[in-house]
């Protein structure tokens, strides 16, 4: 039901219902159906499940999510001065 992994579209053939393409997962290349992502382009990423691209991966959203996760501690520090010192130490440690 769920096993879908992100891959990079490196080749596209055909269009519409018969649209297929080659997707690269770190050196594994698999032929998949792109019928459900008609607007996808070469270089884009898609989530592949049982040989089908079920959605294009929104790279901006991915980077935004990661940035948000990395910022969490900084935001909380502003609210709690006591945590500021602990956070500074943690960040310094993380930078090692």
């Amino acid at each position: 039901m769920c096993l879908g992994i992100p891959g990079k579209v490196i080749e596209i053939t055909g269009e519409g219902v018969t649209m297929t393409g080659k997707v690269d997962f770190d050196g594994i290349v698999k032929e998949v159906s792109l019928a459900y992502v008609p607007d996808i382009s070469i270089g884009d990423y898609a989530i592949i499940h049982v040989g089908f691209a079920i959605t294009q991966l929104d790279e901006k959203a991915a980077l935004d999510t990661l940035a948000h996760l990395q910022e969490i501690e900084a935001i909380e520090v502003e609210l709690d001065p006591d945590a500021a010192l602990a956070a500074e130490e943690a960040i310094a440690k993380g930078a090692e």
Partner: protein
Amino acid sequence: MKYLDEFRDSDLARRLLDDIAGITTKHHVLMEVCGGQTHSIIRNGIDRLLPDDIEMVHGPGCPVCVTPLETIDKALEIASRDGVIFCSFGDMLRVPGSGRDLFSVKSTGGDVRIVYSPLDAVQIARDNPDREVVFFGIGFETTAPANAMALYQAKQEGLTNFSMLVSHVLVPPAMRAILDSPTNRVEAFLAAGHVCSVMGYEQYYPIAEQYGTPIVVTGFEPLDLLQGIKMAVLQLEEGRAEVENAYQRAVKREGNLPAQQMLADVFVTIDRKWRGIGAIPQSGWALGADYKAFDAAERFTVTDIDTIESPLCHAGEVLRGTLKPDQCPAFGNECTPRTPLGATMVSAEGACAAYYLYGRFKELEATP
């Protein structure tokens, strides 16, 4: 792998775990519906790293676990027939029917083949025009578009030797059934990320409102799961009951429209029985009139099957979250991964199999 490894960062995971601990002031029961999420939680030991007050209950999100016994038995019957090439995803091969499984059918001469995609089964049909090729079309909404495409192609090409045994189940009705149960303890849901990639999450708003239950669309990697859990816990702590999306890179509110169009063309919604749970209205998909000719259940008239579910098996209660696997009397005795009574002990993300792994290991702590 890009867009996968970044979401496994252990430092960020630790921070999220600390955040969750920091905001939790009372006991909360959360359920993830998707088997892939269950697998990831267990694999990464996430439920053992969460604060004790956050209780994860593994839901019926494993299509392997909930495929009705009658359907498994039908599959076994069809696979045993001379001349049939029976194709299936690997997950289904060890699921016990009334006394045997696809592996044993294979060992007694059935031509059972594992495929990665339903389109591979269609190719097998093209390559073997004198054989009947049957594909076991199981799955939630995530897999349905792929199965639909296989049928579409078969119909376009007039591949009369291809048919599909369809057993699709839908997530929202299952969530309602769980919430409707008088013994329900689940307070918030992690909605299945890839199901929502296909279907969007519009369907969850009425549920959140009607039951006052937070629903967070969640992915599969450790950071995705922890972020989803954090957002759900925050809602519970703040008394909100909203639908939120924690998997934005792969899910849009409206979902995948071309896929939904194909689904509407090929399938119709029906009442469906869930193994261990019973009938849930309008919770399944079957082939619509245009595709009935490709229905393996009709093409192969299977004589009355006497399904024999082990009376010792409590998989249903486990799937609903009302019984913990180690509370089942058969757990670890008659029922083990090697001798499973029900699908929840067979499947990699079945709750019982997961508990079996931990239960024998009580002295190990979650963190050093």
